[in-house]
């Protein structure tokens, strides 16, 4: 058996090299004639107006916010899941309290319409 860390390291390097080679290969094999019209961003043929690198909806941030909180709390469940059979019923009840607090936050997010797409 091989050292798992070494495999992760070597494989990451390989995968990154695969991606970089594939992306840079057209530089050699493919033709390249840039033109004014060709380099314009694609907007279904309409004249480009405005800049997409600007203000977008706050709704995206609200989703990410709820995600981060729930993600942290769900990650705390992993170490508990490992030991929960040794921890006994008290451990289970403790985690039920934790889950209840988590669901409280979730219900609040629903209540203030942070999970709606509007």
């Amino acid at each position: 058996m091989s050292d798992p860390f070494l495999v992760v390291a070597v494989f990451t390097v390989f995968a990154a090299m695969f991606g970089l080679v594939s992306v840079l290969m057209p530089k050699i094999v493919a033709p390249s004639n840039p033109g004014l019209e060709k380099q314009r961003t694609y907007e279904c043929g309409v004249v480009v107006k405005g800049d997409p690198w600007g203000e977008s909806k706050i709704q995206f941030y609200l989703f990410a916010l709820v995600f981060v909180v729930l993600d942290v709390e769900s990650l705390f469940l992993f170490p508990w899941g490992l030991v929960f059979r040794d921890a006994g019923l008290t451990g289970f009840i403790e985690v039920l309290v934790f889950l209840a607090i988590l669901l409280l936050g979730w219900a609040f997010a629903w209540r203030v319409r942070a999970m709606e797409w509007e």
Binding site: K38, Q39, R85, L99, E118
Partner: protein, 388 residues
């Protein structure tokens, strides 16, 4: 092509290499051989899957699908690859040129990384980490920022919106995915994927056959379909409103990289789901263990194709509502049910199967009613919304 074909092939190749190199290189050579094997596996699988999907969807739609290049069109992906490589690389003006190169190059890394944590067969896991389950989730979580960057780089409105939407969707489905994995962790008491498979071999039943496991499996599988942004969850790349979403401005091999990340990612997720819930490489003795896992994963992938051939696309608000308002509470309930299952010692007896199953089914239908109510409410005409 027996059980130990790949293992003995690897040790033979390692012996050949060690004849030339000092013995201290042994771990390095082993790592390189394993990496090469998985690196070869991933793109080949992607090629096969594109062919399989086009053929199958063709049949669903009463067409033949690709049938020109090679027998049954099996070499079509190769021809596509050659064509892709010759396409001009167009970078729109005003784009972030560095990111435009880097994002498609790196987006395959997390998708490929998912493969090395999955046990392909008995003693055939590339990187047998003690916390492999978490690393799988971490690798799938890393593709969200890469896809936002891919959408951001070309400075196109469609691709920026597509990238932001894709990430919102992947984040939303990551939570129920993680929670349904916690149920498996509770049952196994380990974070190693090989330990999960071995625990199912020891128990004699697959986790999907337990009441909590059945629901966790369905939640997990729906989440993997959504994480891979496949139909019916392909809103980020909906042609009818976002052109092609985050990869609108990518041509040739850059586009192929996004495509490859999507396909390899979904197949890796299929293999992962098969290992967690369907017993992984456990199966009839006369088949080699690595073949059994591939058969199970292909069956799951066929279900994904089936979805694509059958179910129309969700609207974005429905898609997010499904994750936040249905799958999330359902996965929390599954966790509670898993805990109760082990504490009340309900491992035996037919009643022990029926009661948890019935209550979870009841919860499932109850939440479905709530979700349907939300959908109907969302359909009522309101004041005009701004797009995005």
């Amino acid at each position: 092509m027996g059980e130990n074909f790949f293992i003995s092939l690897k040790s033979q190749l390692a012996d050949i290499a060690l004849a030339w190199l000092p013995a201290s290189w042994q771990p390095m050579i082993s790592a390189i051989l394993v990496s090469c094997a998985v690196m070869a596996f991933a793109p080949l699988t992607m090629m096969f899957l594109t062919w399989f999907e086009r053929k199958a969807v063709g049949r669903f739609q009463d067409r033949y699908g690709p049938n020109r290049v090679g027998p049954f069109g099996i070499f079509q992906p190769l021809a596509d690859g050659v064509k892709m490589a010759q396409k001009e690389d167009i970078i729109p003006e005003g784009a972030d040129r560095l990111l435009h190169h880097l994002a498609p190059a790196l987006v395959v890394v997390p998708a490929f990384l998912m493969f090395i944590f999955v046990p392909f067969g008995r003693d055939m896991v590339a990187a047998d980490l003690d916390t492999g389950l978490l690393f799988f989730l971490a690798a799938s979580g890393l593709s969200a920022p890469l896809i936002i960057s891919g959408g951001w780089a070309p400075r196109n409105k469609f691709s920026v919106l597509g990238g932001l939407r894709a990430a919102a969707q992947m984040l939303a489905y990551a939570i129920p995915m993680a929670l349904s994995v916690v149920a498996v962790v509770m049952a196994t008491g380990s974070l190693s994927i090989s330990a999960v498979v071995e625990a199912q071999a020891r128990l004699g039943y697959w986790y999907v056959l337990t009441p909590w496991g059945a629901f966790a499996f369905v939640i997990f599988f729906l989440c993997t379909v959504a994480e891979a942004k496949r139909t019916p969850f392909d809103m980020p790349e909906a042609e009818s409103e976002l052109v092609a979403g985050f990869h609108t401005e990518y041509s040739g091999l850059k586009f192929a990289m996004f495509f490859m990340a999507e396909f390899t990612g979904s197949y890796a997720a299929c293999m992962f789901a098969a290992s967690l819930f369907l017993g992984g490489w456990i199966g009839p003795e006369f088949l080699p263990s690595w073949l059994i896992l591939q058969v199970k994963a292909m069956a799951l992938f066929f279900v994904m194709v089936w979805f694509r051939g059958t179910i129309p696309r969700f609207r974005t608000d429905q898609l997010l509502a499904l994750a936040w308002k249905f799958l999330f509470p359902m996965s929390v309930l599954v966790l509670v049910a898993t805990g109760a299952w082990y504490f009340l010692r309900m491992d035996s007896g037919i009643a022990a199967i029926i009661w948890p199953f019935l209550s979870l089914t009841l919860a499932w239908w109850g939440l479905s009613v709530v979700l349907a109510h939300e959908f109907i409410r969302a359909n009522r005409p309101r004041r005009a919304d701004n797009a995005g």
